[in-house]
């Protein structure tokens, strides 16, 4: 027997909403999905009229849906925002080059300006070359650290007021679990924040899809026939995150509301006063936000340029020893050269 849409709009239900389990027709699902994002934006005051917002676009499902919905809501509810797309080209052949084509398609479809920044121009290294240096392990460290800073650089270049990223509810719940598994209290404190950064020295990042389920994002993109790119990165299936992800997916099968419950739990966690808090500062070398001196991006870059790619990986003291050893060797060689020149 066909089931009718729960909203009593008169249509037949086309899908079962993953988040609430309600049977809805396509139109009602779109309406509900968009209304929730609008509600998130308005109740958390993510944007102000007249602001310029960069949508971090990778060409994947999350950022494609984000760009689509933001454009739609901006017009429907008259937010008065100027939207631009910001993409980072890590230089990964067979992955990013293809996904950037999708972003360009988005640019044309949504009539939004697009800025692409590449690791090549920012750091002088592409991920392909970095992987050639360091191999398949730890390469995600470089990619992640550089991308975070690259987005900041791009945002500064474009002069935007905030960056909207496509993190969805599943991503956030998964991160809560992962940070508990790693005992990372510093990240546990802030990983559920809908807005991070901001203040005088940095550009805030916001997550308008914080309460949107991944399954619904996929469903929305599918029924709206949005063009997106869905290939895993060629370099790195991340084992650790995979562990938390598999656990979350299992939990979701048992009780779909678990994703929201975990986000809520993450927000409610408080820490004893004895637990150390990281202090946010500014890197003395590059001037971008960092809790370490110098920032991770600068350390990693120094490692690459010195030919010591493992420099920023693992303990800081180990890295310092590596630098000291290299400096010593250089000094020795220089002295040897001096001796030779005497003759």
């Amino acid at each position: 027997m066909p089931i009718n849409c729960k909203s009593q709009c008169g249509n037949r239900a086309a899908l079962k909403r993953p988040k609430t389990g309600d049977a809805l027709c396509k139109e009602c699902f779109f309406a509900a999905f968009e209304a929730e994002i609008h509600h998130t934006i308005s109740s958390s005051h993510l944007f102000r009229r007249g602001e310029k917002v960069a949508v971090a676009a990778s060409g994947g499902k999350d950022s494609t849906v984000l760009a689509h919905v933001l454009k739609l809501l901006n017009e429907r509810h008259d937010y008065g925002l100027e939207l631009v797309l910001l993409s980072i080209d890590e230089g990964i052949t067979g992955y990013r080059d293809d996904s950037l084509e999708t972003v360009k398609q988005n640019r044309d479809d949504y009539q939004m300006p697009l800025k692409i920044l590449s690791y090549e121009e920012l750091y002088g290294w592409t991920m392909d070359r970095i992987v050639g240096q360091i191999g398949r392990s730890n390469n995600c460290t470089f990619c992640g650290v550089f991308r975070r800073q690259a987005l900041d650089r791009g945002a500064k270049l474009l002069g935007v007021d905030s960056i909207a990223t496509g993190h969805n509810a599943d991503d956030i719940a998964e991160t809560v679990l992962m940070n508990v598994l790693r005992g990372d209290t510093a990240r546990l404190r802030r990983c559920t924040d809908i807005r991070t950064g901001g203040g005088e020295d940095s550009i805030p990042r916001v997550k308008p899809l914080k309460y949107s389920y991944e399954k619904e994002i996929v469903m929305y993109a599918h029924y709206k026939k949005l063009v997106y790119f869905s290939t895993e990165c060629v370099f790195a299936p991340n084992a650790y995150r995979g562990h938390a992800r598999a656990f979350l997916k299992d939990l979701e099968k048992v009780r779909p509301s678990v994703i929201m419950d975990i986000i809520y739990s993450g927000e409610q966690l408080r820490f004893k006063d004895t637990v150390k808090k990281p202090v946010r500062g500014i890197c003395t070398r590059c001037g971008f936000v960092s809790s370490q001196q110098p920032c991770k991006a600068c350390v990693l870059l120094e490692g690459l340029n010195r030919g010591l790619p493992k420099l920023g990986i693992g303990k800081k003291s180990k890295g310092e020893r590596m630098i000291a050893k290299q400096d010593q060797e250089l000094a020795l060689r220089e002295r040897a050269n001096l001796v030779k020149n005497d003759f």
């Binding site: 729960k6 209304a35 739990s265």
Partner: protein, 405 residues
């Protein structure tokens, strides 16, 4: 998009933090010299991260962990009345044995408290093979002068009996069993049962005029409990679920977990060293026989058991994360009538988003007309004065009919 290294995510993708390791379990039976006292012994105990030692040195070490947990926090007043909860598991027997030993030492080292034991008879609720009552009676002889009591899970504290006089009541379905059956999912049932069990223990403690309750949870239990609490939306009170001292119990009863720093291996060794005979196997909790995908709790314990097997140090990381968190509440805050945790204080955006989803799904395309009313409706639902916290509302919502309390 690959999101490793972005602000909320690990710089390293944490690849280094989760190293596959499986630690061998088991007693080194070969005779040899104790590395601690040098005495030759026929049985050496080799714990992970410790050198092999003789039985006496091992016992001293394990018992010290128990005493240190109580002593360091100065949490147990002199001559306190203590109620020990016995469930027949290896952990509870170890706790009983340690407490008994601590009481029989000379004056200087003795733990000054008056202990009683309560066995919670849950066979009717669990519907499993009855535990051998004779074995518990034998324990009460072995651990004299502790008084042993028995209470049936789901009964009132007035039906508390001395072990010597106890015989299981004839089979009639208790109110608790009926209520459990009215809950739709096993997740809700297990969550509800856990609260009920705690409430029962609190009322027994009150009846016996005990100010403190000893519960035999060990580190891996608490790691599981922390993850479970997070999955159930109980993050605000999770700190209490895993702390040494839990003071949420009714009637000012304080729940202590003095074995919280012991691990499974230490329990196994202690059981062996003292020739203890656990009355039930671990993993015989309510509903556990229905498999790991039957509830969030079962899934979480299977997940932690797998971690324990393959990434043992991750379990202790989780457990130590539990040590770092504090309760999210101020002293005057109202508490949930069901679980006694602090109520959700401020209007949470996440809870509002949950309620808003429900309203929005009901409204469908109609919401274009009345979007603002929906938010008001969601707020009203959220602020309903039912005295329940978010997680307990989740249990209430799964009740087919009637009220939770």
């Amino acid at each position: 998009m690959c999101s490793i290294g972005e602000d909320d995510f690990g710089d390293e993708g944490a690849a280094h933090a989760m190293v596959a390791e499986s630690l061998p379990l088991g007693i080194v039976l070969s005779p040899g010299d104790c590395n601690k006292c040098g005495v030759t012994s026929s049985e050496l105990y080799k714990l992970n991260f410790r050198t092999a030692e003789c039985r006496d040195c091992f016992l001293a070490y394990a018992r010290h962990k128990f005493r240190a947990a109580l002593g360091a926090a100065k949490i147990l007043p002199r001559n306190a009345e203590v109620l020990l909860v016995l469930d027949g598991s290896a952990e509870s027997l170890v706790l009983l044995d340690m407490l008994h030993f601590a009481q029989t030492q000379n004056t200087f080292k003795r733990l000054h408290c008056n202990a009683r034991v309560v066995y919670v008879d849950d066979q009717q609720v669990l519907g499993r093979y009855p535990v051998d009552m004779e074995a518990i009676k034998a324990l009460s002889d072995q651990y004299a002068p502790f008084e042993f009591h028995v209470i049936e899970l789901g009964a009132l504290s007035s039906s508390l009996q001395r072990i010597k006089e106890y015989s299981p009541s004839p089979k009639e379905t208790s109110e608790l069993v009926e209520k459990l059956e009215r809950l739709r999912s096993l997740t809700a049932r297990q969550d509800f049962l856990q609260q009920q069990r705690k409430n029962l223990i609190a009322s027994v403690a009150e009846k016996l005029q005990c100010s403190h309750v000893f519960e035999p949870s060990i580190s891996v239990d608490l790691a599981t409990q922390l993850l479970t609490a997070i999955a159930l939306g109980r993050g605000g009170s999770a700190a209490m679920d895993v702390a040494l001292l839990d003071d949420r119990l009714a009637g000012d009863v304080k729940l202590l977990r003095p074995l919280k720093d012991l691990n499974e291996q230490e329990i196994q060794f202690y059981v062996h060293a003292q020739r203890l005979k656990p009355l039930l196997q671990s993993g015989s909790r309510y509903g556990q026989e229905r498999g790991q995908t039957a509830s969030l709790q079962n899934l979480t314990s299977a997940f932690v058991a797998n971690l324990q097997k393959n990434y043992a140090s991750t379990v202790s990381t989780v457990f130590r994360t539990g040590d770092k968190i504090a309760v999210n509440a101020h002293p005057e805050q109202a508490t949930c009538v069901q679980c006694q945790s602090a109520m959700d204080s401020d209007l949470s955006d996440t809870l509002l988003a949950i309620e808003y989803s429900r309203s929005v799904s009901e409204a469908g395309v109609g919401l274009y007309k009345n979007g603002d009313d929906l938010e008001a409706l969601a707020k009203r639902r959220l602020e309903a004065q039912d005295g329940l916290c978010h997680a307990c509302r989740g249990i209430q919502a799964e009740l087919k009919s009637g009220k939770l309390l």
